[in-house]
């Protein structure tokens, strides 16, 4: 019966989600129509499937980011950890030739960073943005130290199958992203652990009163982020067939943007996994369209930032209406 306080949260979440459905969908459609009418080559099948495949890496880290933000948290380190795990993956694969060993090593590093983030936030209660800003600095520095600023090249060409190959005609990264989405959907909506996640953001004290080890749940959420960074790192390494010390630096911003645009709130534990999927596609379309228009990537970043502020602004208007 003490569990009521926990169960209340997802129910409230559901109501506010329904009110928000049009927000991100509206943006998505608007951007799509805008680029379809102004940008030659945007609506070709080749380009659109390109958008989808290129969005897979972002989705894989945006999924755990959704859970993290639902706990009223943030992970600024995920881009740097993704880069670091990619470097570890490549530097183990290169001499040993063993994919299993390379994946194990990169996963361990990702999980360690995630667990440290989670511990810093759960136990000494360091605010998430500053704890992960610190680990961002650590991971980013390690990227440069391990590689000495150089790219790791000469990886086996078979690795490219991971990003460029197909299973039953479906691109491998898409299969992996779909599996990841299903797994996160299952975790968030169909497990007890999943009900704890919004409760951590909504009312951590109530969760503790209900007898849940709230710190452990928080550590698990961030650890999931580190682990998924390790998964995304394989795709990233396969995509470039190399590892580069600044490859995914800053990707945390796209992930946070996708989650925010998707309607997950930074307060109160309101989150929506499908919204994140739409958010990832929205950012993917925005970047792809701007690319086709030959807009430099620096301006693309600014546009993503403006999109986030617009989304939060609309979000704020809605919550004041309520």
């Amino acid at each position: 019966m003490t569990d009521y306080s926990v169960i209340d949260q997802p129910a409230a979440t559901k109501a506010s989600i329904l009110a928000r459905v049009p927000g991100v969908a509206f943006m998505l459609v608007l951007l799509f129509v805008a680029f379809a009418t102004t940008t030659p080559g945007f609506t070709t099948l080749a380009n659109l499937s390109n958008v989808v495949v290129q969005s897979t890496i972002l989705l894989i880290i945006a999924l755990p980011m959704t859970l993290i933000i639902m706990t009223e948290g943030l992970d600024l380190s995920i881009g740097a950890v993704l880069t670091l795990t990619s470097i570890i993956f490549a530097s183990v694969l290169l001499p040993t030739g063993s994919y299993a060993l390379a994946f194990a090593a990169s996963s361990v590093v990702g999980i360690m960073f995630g667990a440290v983030n989670g511990w810093l936030i759960a136990v000494p209660r360091i605010p998430p943005f500053v704890a992960t800003l610190g680990t961002l600095g650590i991971a980013q520095g390690l990227c440069l130290i391990v590689t000495d600023g150089q790219s790791i090249v000469g990886l086996p060409p078979q690795l490219q199958w991971l990003y460029g190959g197909t299973i039953l005609g479906i691109p491998v990264p898409l299969v992996m992203a779909a599996l990841a989405y299903l797994a996160f959907h299952g975790i968030l909506y169909h497990t007890r652990f999943g009900t704890y996640v919004p409760a951590l953001g909504g009312n951590r004290e109530a969760l503790r009163q209900a007898g849940v080890n709230d710190s452990l749940v928080l550590v698990a959420v961030y650890t999931l982020g580190g682990f998924m960074a390790g998964i995304a790192a394989m795709l990233l390494t396969a995509r470039m067939n190399s590892a580069h010390p600044t490859a995914a630096i800053g990707m945390e911003f796209d992930a946070i943007a996708a989650v925010a645009v998707g309607g997950t709130q930074f307060e109160r534990g309101n989150g929506w996994l499908f919204g994140t999927l739409l958010g990832v596609v929205t950012i993917g379309i925005l970047r792809n369209g701007l690319n086709l228009l030959a807009i430099p990537s620096s301006v693309q970043v600014s546009c993503v930032g403006l999109l986030v502020i617009l989304a939060l602004f609309v979000d704020g208007l809605r919550s004041t209406e309520e």
Partner: protein, 327 residues
Amino acid sequence: MTTVETTAASPRFVMSGDLTQLFYRLAAIGLICVALSFLSDAFLTTNNLLNVLRQASLVFFMASGLTLVILTGKIDLSVGATVGLSACLAATVIKSTGSPWLGAVVGIGAGSLVGLANGVLVTRLRIPSFIATYGSLWIVQGITYYYMAGQTIYGFPPGFRALGSGYALGIPIPVYLMAGFLLIGGFFAKRTTYGQQIYAIGANSVAARLSGIPVNSRLVLVFIMSGAMAGLASLVFLARLNSAEGDIGESLTLPTIAAVLIGGTSLFGGIGTVSGTFFGALILTLILNGMNLLAVNANWQPPVTGAIIIFSVWLDLATSARSQASA
């Protein structure tokens, strides 16, 4: 949320705390200096020590503005990016008009505008400051990169360059500026109504609002001051480096935040001093300088700074919990 309440200890504790905080920082500086003078012959030279002071002044300009923001319980993650934009705009103006004064107005003005935008995002749109200023970090950086398009602007008039690399009476000019802003900042925070209101907002923003403090306009003010100080820092950077590139401010966010936190300003608002930030900037610069002298790979600087940030907040939390328990 609960931490905000617990750190808002009684004013009596804060007053006596300032002195102990100062003592710890002086002790840390003493220890680092003794250690480094044993480890490296190059440390205890006039040149090196003046260089440390000059470097510390750059960090201090950015960190003193940020201190005011953090005192209100908010954060400004866009400081580094703002330095980049201000530096590039000021560089263009100085090159095209030849007037450092006009460049200074544009640099500080641009910084203030970014601060104003941050303040509006936080107060009017009610976006949490860590996410609003994180967004503006990327927006401002994107604008800077686009504006510079990979170019470098270099070669400024000697009169302007003196601001960064000149000496007066054997002491670097930025050090005088730092001393000035240390006095002004300390006076502003501790001796003016505005300053006291900033502490009150950080200690308990609801109580501050109920007691009639115009919370939103004070918040906008501190964000503008943070942006303006970033603009000032950009001028000194420009004068020191004698060149401006798009990525000039990229690596400055971590050290700036680290200096404020080492200086004893609590991330939860209401506790801290501008003079503490001066010592924070000095300690951080000493550590990085020491790593340089000991020929440690420069790539170790971000990890060390990151670890210092985490350690400082942890220390703040641990000590405030203890003072809470003993009270």
